[in-house]
Symmetry: C2
């Protein structure tokens, strides 16, 4: 496997879950992103020695810190600290069940979160009322939890008289933030669940979180049911402008998506939906508006205005969810019409507000959000990359589903493809597109301007590949996989000249964005110490290819890391810690939003960025 291009497979036992992650990601992070709980209190620095796992197959070097945690026999039988194992080959990993309840959980890009959830449960045994003590039920309960001073939801008030009397006045008060949401018979303090949503334009992910332990109880994802209204936010906004019924329908579809995911994670984890006392949602500004039934039109037309930066005081009911009827909803705040709650969540999960390194956060998608910061100063912007990364406007483009080529490696001899689902290749998804172009540039079949070279040049540079350069549907193309007879392009999977142009436009938009941010920040591209690739697409991008086509600054590939589903992780963090929740709000003050469409030099910069870097 060539470092920086392929993907490694990790199998976790006894959960029997297989995940595919970019190489270089630690086993601990890979597990954490995928909802497999590994104990840790040090935040992945090899010091707490809690994240002990055993490699059942595959090799990992012994780190000096491993030698402090294990004896020679344990090391020989494969025991390692999960945070120190950098994945560079397929591994089969045994994760021992949690023996201690962590007081902290690791979430996001290695962020250690001290558990301080808004959901609190208090078990109390109350004195029963009498003619000489006629204190009202609620005041009796509140007196026993008088450090909390919560407001009271009508649902809790309705349940109170009968719950008290059917449980001998031994009850558990459920308080979320400053609201008493319920009173439950007996001691239920061990069961506290919350639900985090990453409401993407394309994909929606729900993570059911046990806030008592900080670990995910179940994860589910599905396509956003709004798809029929168009693949990107602009088509959905347009729909609401053309049809007065569309807003209501889009709201309903988004809510149905959330509801279905809720049912799925509850079924998987055997959790009663009414045990979900709080939900959090991270989405871009348009998705957030649509799911709340707010007219998104001002987001879609200049000057691109949010209905609100910080939607407070919402409830799960406002999101159409059948969880606990009094559950509040945290909706992640937004910086701008095109830097939404998903990005704020991402910044939170990746520690953009804390890490002192100069870091560039890039969420690659139709709309690409870019954040640059050093922990003290943070700049953010949004670049319209278009649909290329999601397979749109690409001749053989498709989403990252079964049959999609997700990895392309080109040698002088041949073209090596990795296809999702171990089926015949049917098309190219975004990471495959970036790989294909990057590899063609590397082997010299595409020049720096983005043009396929001539047949003569191809014969000279890569004679065994030159035959794949042909004309398909009237334009020059490179065949990645022949279908049937070699030389006959019918049904083949190929990359056309216009496909390369689409990618050039997309990557130019993004690199114009970060180059302007770097300039505003006063640093050179090479001074960036880490690039975080986020989003459902960005996380799967090959760092080497991203550098090759100039999508990210020219850094060593190890400095370019996949951040995973940081939007969902950020949403989860707000459920696990009220301090992190405050941190999300603080980001609104700390981050300076740079509007690109306002810059007179944007077009010049954009043109400069169209070509690919030359070594």
């Amino acid at each position: 496997m060539t470092e920086g291009t392929g993907r490694v497979r990790l199998h976790f036992a006894p959960a029997d879950r297989e995940v595919r992650v970019p190489p270089g990601v630690s086993v601990f992070e890979a597990a954490s992103w995928n909802g497999i709980a590994i104990d840790s209190t040090c935040g992945g620095h090899g010091t707490c020695k809690k994240c002990k796992v055993r490699l059942l197959s595959g090799e990992a070097p012994v780190n000096p810190l491993d030698e402090r945690a294990f004896d020679a026999a344990q090391l020989a039988s494969g025991w390692r600290l999960a945070c120190l194992v950098s994945t560079h080959e397929d591994l089969d990993v045994e994760v021992p069940p949690l023996v201690t309840r962590p007081k902290a959980a690791t979430v996001g890009a290695g962020r250690q979160v001290i558990l301080r959830p808004a959901i609190q449960k208090r078990y109390v045994e109350l004195t029963e009322p009498s003619l000489s003590d006629q204190t009202a039920d609620l005041e009796r309960l509140l007196g026993a939890i008088d450090d909390l001073e919560p407001r009271v939801h009508l649902h809790a008030l309705r349940r109170l008289p009968s719950v008290l009397r059917t449980s001998d006045f031994k009850v558990t008060a459920v308080v979320v933030d400053d609201l008493l949401v319920d009173v439950e018979p007996g001691d239920t303090t061990g069961r506290r669940y919350a639900l985090a949503f990453d409401l993407g334009t394309t994909t929606v992910v729900a993570t059911l979180v046990d806030v008592d332990t900080g670990t995910p109880a179940a994860i589910a994802s599905m396509l956003n049911k709004q798809q029929p209204f168009g693949g990107d936010v602009i088509t959905r906004i347009s729909a609401t402008m053309m049809d007065p019924e569309a807003l209501g329908r889009l709201r309903q579809l988004a809510q149905e998506t959330l509801a279905e995911l809720t049912a799925n994670v509850c079924a998987e984890a055997a959790v009663d939906p009414h045990e979900i006392y709080e939900v959090a949602l991270a989405g871009n500004a348009t998705m957030t508006s649509l799911v709340l039934g707010i007219d998104p039109e001002p987001l879609g037309v200049a000057p691109f205005i949010l209905p609100t930066a910080a939607p407070y005081g919402l409830t799960a009911e406002d999101l159409g969810l059948d969880v606990h009827p009094a559950a509040p909803a945290v909706v992640l705040p937004a910086l701008g019409a095109y830097v939404g709650g998903d990005i704020v969540a991402g910044m939170l999960a990746s520690g953009m507000d804390r890490d002192k390194r100069i870091r560039l956060f890039v969420d690659v998608g139709t709309n690409c959000e870019i954040v640059l910061g050093d922990g003290d100063r943070i700049l953010a912007t949004a670049a319209p990359a278009g649909p290329a990364f999601e397979g749109g406007a690409i001749r053989c483009g498709m989403r990252a589903a079964d049959g999609a080529i997700e990895v392309v490696r080109i040698t002088d001899e041949d073209v090596d493809l990795e296809v999702i689902g171990d089926v015949d290749p049917a098309g190219l998804c975004g990471s495959g597109l970036v790989d294909a172009v990057a590899e063609l540039v590397r082997v010299g079949l595409v020049d720096a301007s983005g043009r396929f070279v001539t047949d003569d040049q191809a014969d000279a540079r890569a004679p065994k590949l030159a035959g794949r350069l042909t004309e398909i549907n009237g334009e020059r193309a490179f065949v990645l996989r022949w279908q049937g007879i070699e030389g006959d392009p019918t049904g083949s999977v190929y990359l056309s000249q216009r496909d390369i142009r689409e990618l050039q436009f997309a990557k130019a938009a993004i690199s114009t964005g970060w180059s302007l941010l770097l300039e505003e920040f006063g640093v050179e591209p090479r001074e960036v110490q880490q690039v975080l690739l986020a989003g459902s697409f960005g996380s799967y991008l090959s760092p080497a290819s991203a550098v090759r086509i100039g999508l990210v600054p020219p850094l060593a590939v190890l400095r370019i890391v996949s951040a995973g589903n940081v939007a969902g992780e950020g949403a989860k963090m707000t459920l696990l810690s009220i301090q992190e929740r405050a941190g999300a709000d603080a980001l609104l003050e700390e981050v300076h939003y740079v509007e690109l469409s306002d810059r007179s030099d944007f077009n010049d910069r954009f043109v400069e960025q169209l070509s690919f870097p030359t070594d």
Copy 2:
């Protein structure tokens, strides 16, 4: 007309409304109780000279303060200050339209309330957003009303983007307490409505209030639709204990009653229900629980426990109301299971927490609430009076509807009746019952023990009435009105020996209550400076008769005043003034509740109180 027994009729022009009030009530108060707006800023002390009215028929003496307000010609043509006209005969009163907007309104028992409603409207003209000012819509609006710092209801957030853009960013923010409930196009500051409910077990009254002026815009009342479940709170509580469906049904019926009244007042005043931004509700503890869907069982069985003393954070939606969708609801707090929000409202409206006189507040009904205070110290209790005052358990008893005898005067010669609706008498309502017994005691046909005298004694004491003493259905009775042939009791309206016993039990419960409170307070009955008779029944009780039977302490009748619908007035006050609203909460701390069922001497006292006072 004998002072203290009859009722006087007031006709108000140009509103063309006729009301019937106990004599001694000022024209100003009578108008205020009945929703006729008369300007005033001094609170009915004759000093602001704003409450100018003209008597079109009927006479009232000229007060020295009238001479400061009017010249001789005006006085001669009937002009008077409404607060100084004590009604002792039928009057036809012309009320000039309001010329100035009062900064204060008079409500309750002459309480002057400085208008400081929770509903605030702010008209703002915002700068339109641009690429160089991308402040979100909500933050832009909140910036313009930054002294308020409200929370934001989703309804307001949903409306915001389109309302701003369809009204050139000239909008009115509607803030109720600390909640932004709406944003309206243009300047709507002149229209602010709220709705006060007196949710009685029998009768429900809705008052639509213009909080901009403090005046009622419309008043409507109707029977509580829960009636089929029983006439009193105990039968309704019992229903919920026997049938698990009953609570939901009772909630629905109460909510339907409120909804119908809402529609009625809105139609009468031509107010859009969505212009009602806040509601307040005063009800006894059972009615309050039922309308909110809270199990009332602990209210009905010892030790008689409230679900909560102070139900905060409720909404009009919780009450099933179709007013403004984000309207909050103020539900008056309660002191105990049998001293509910209606009584707290009554205390507020009658100034029990402020007036320095020793005052006794008695809300007469099936459950009778009694409050004794001097402004510094306040005691309260509840006495179970039974259904006699509402016509229950009385042979010829009926509610105060058409055909009910409401006033009875007995001379040595004859029996004089006043009947509601100018129809033939069909039965006795509560005030008629009290009058009848009081008059029979006064003329000596009923002795102090409550027994009808013998025929011989009757012949001696009132020969012209003795023929009315007869036997009906096996018990001794006094015929108030023969039906058909005199001497034939068939179909007559009469008072039986058992009826008198029912009334004795009722009045004994009440007088035991106030006598114990007086003792606890350390004052003698004759030291009480004012008795306020409240409630839909109490307000219509003849003070002289109440004294005669010992229902109230033996005071001069002028010290016994009708307080009117104080529950509804108290609810209204909470809508007009956030200070008064805080006052209602403060009452919870200030008032000491005395539980009668806990007292070992209750039964002895009760027996002592059964007999009627002897002069």
